[in-house]
């Protein structure tokens, strides 16, 4: 039996088509993936992302401990800032990609992938130092929190309409949310699920994500729709993120891939003396990577590209796609896939094979699409 978010009834009554995603019953689309994709690129869409996981980490040891497990630099995060980071195994392989929010000087919120909640949490628990809760406390709040993503060039208008507040937010920030105002930072109070608004997202557009107690989900969902947001499903979320070349764990990332191979070296802080997975990465960096996750665009009319389609160079198979689509914004086939390092360069000519027929393609610079907002 699949799990349901607090918005399940809203999805069904709103006419969404429900599918299984990572063990959750989620809307893949409302009116249609193309319409919803367009709404986010040109107006404003809202997504239920309550299936994603939330971990709260607090205590005086929290920054140091997180820095020992994550690739990016938690120490460099200011209060109220967000950061993309990776959780690696001891071989440098990717367990999960996640967002770290510094919600207070000694408090962090991690947003992790739905399919990885249990694995991530077990990994973090296994790596907890043997100390008291006074200096380090880790809590899995995934059940307690619901999350909404409001995305698109008109998201600031939706925000202002909904809260009667001006939009004056920089990207990648987080603030506490109460009914009247946004509060910078927040004072830790145990046992209370606080609400946050963060200017992050997975679409490339302007927008915000709301982290709220599960019981408040329907109220905010209705509020944002009444304020001008179009309900969207995971289908559009996938085409939007792929146009931005944002990787999807389980498709483009796995424990067999390192951040360097995945093209995520910018989110690895080698200046840190230690984090799990660092040594194999340093070694790989010195030796050079053998393969790299690349953006591939089809240069002729083609069917939609899907995962596991063969990628060829001069007629010989050199890899396969990990994600693919017919880009709704660009009108051509796009894909991500690992290529031998020597072929992973802009302008490299390739072919992608669909049902035995080869279509001309080439490696392009990331991202495929540059948002206007």
């Amino acid at each position: 039996m699949n799990r349901r978010t607090p918005l399940y009834d809203r999805h069904v009554s709103g006419g969404a088509r429900m599918v299984d995603f990572a063990g959750w019953e989620m809307p893949v689309q409302y009116r249609g993936i193309l319409d919803e994709h367009k709404a986010v690129r040109e107006d404003c869409g809202i997504f239920d992302i309550s299936h994603m996981g939330e971990f709260l980490i607090r205590g005086s040891e929290a920054p140091t401990w997180l820095d020992s497990l994550l690739t990016n630099s938690v120490a460099k995060l200011e209060e109220g800032q967000a950061q993309y980071s990776l959780l690696l195994n001891q071989h440098g392989g990717i367990i999960d990609d996640l967002i770290v929010y510094r919600t207070a000087a000694q408090e962090f919120l991690l947003i992790v992938n739905a399919a990885k909640i249990e694995e991530d949490f077990a990994w973090l628990c296994d790596h907890l130092p043997d100390r008291s809760d006074e200096v380090l406390a880790l809590t899995n709040l995934s059940e307690a929190y619901a999350a909404l993503a409001v995305q698109g060039p008109k998201a600031p208008d939706v925000f202002s309409n909904a809260f009667s507040l001006p939009w004056e937010h920089r990207r990648n920030r987080i603030a506490g949310l109460d009914n009247k105002s946004l509060t910078a930072g927040s004072s830790p109070s145990a046992g209370v699920i606080r609400s946050f608004v963060a200017t992050t997202g997975y679409t490339g557009e302007l927008g915000f994500e709301l982290l709220i107690p599960a019981g408040d989900a329907t109220r905010y969902w209705d509020l944002f729709i009444a304020s001008g947001a179009t309900p969207c499903g995971l289908g559009a979320r996938d085409t939007l993120r792929l146009e931005m070349c944002y990787p999807l764990n389980g498709a483009d990332l796995s424990s067999n891939d390192t951040p360097l191979e995945a093209g995520l070296g910018a989110f690895v802080d080698f200046a840190k003396e230690h984090f799990v997975g660092r040594d194999p990465l340093v070694e790989q960096k010195e030796r050079g990577i053998g393969r790299k996750l690349s953006a591939i665009r089809v240069e002729e009319k083609s069917p939609p590209i899907r995962p596991h389609y063969p990628i060829l160079a001069n007629g010989e198979k050199v890899g396969e796609t990990t994600s693919g689509a017919l880009s709704p914004s660009l009108g051509c086939g796009i894909a991500l896939g690992y290529l031998p390092f020597l072929l992973a360069k802009n302008g490299q000519l390739l072919e992608i094979e669909v049902r035995g027929r080869q279509y001309r393609a080439g490696v392009v610079k990331k991202p495929f699409y540059k948002p206007r907002s």
Partner: protein, 126 residues
């Protein structure tokens, strides 16, 4: 869902409109709604020989690819070229402008094994 009374249907959601010995084939309103936004269509080449229930064409939505099977055996005599530039015709007008191919029917007796509108309606209402 629209299920026109003058057509015959396959369990795999194709319709066929018979005119003399040529049948026009497409996918049903129900099938296009299930597939959602169709973004690619690959009709068969004229001259292709097919047996009944053989995959002859492919349509793809954003999320999935789906084969279109020939309801009867025969030779493809025409393909709907308009679909290559506007595959969404199948969504907009599945029984009209969204037709996929025309086939010269080899054995008219095969038509008797197809569903009529009433039987197809009860299949999709299950």
């Amino acid at each position: 869902m629209n299920v026109p009374d003058d057509l015959k249907f396959a369990e795999t959601h194709e319709w066929i409109r018979v005119d003399g010995d040529v049948g026009t084939v497409g996918i049903t309103d129900h099938a296009q709604a299930e597939l959602t936004d169709i973004v690619f269509a690959e009709p068969p080449k004229v001259g292709t020989k097919a047996s009944a229930k053989e995959a002859l064409a492919v349509v793809e939505s954003v999320k999935a690819a789906s084969d279109i099977y020939s309801p009867v055996a025969g030779d493809v005599v025409e393909a709907n070229e308009a679909l290559s530039s506007d595959p969404a015709l199948i969504n907009k007008d599945p029984y009209g402008a969204g037709w996929v191919f025309k086939i010269r029917i080899a054995n008219r007796a095969e038509l008797d094994s197809l569903l009529d509108a009433k039987a197809y309606r009860s299949q999709i209402e299950k």
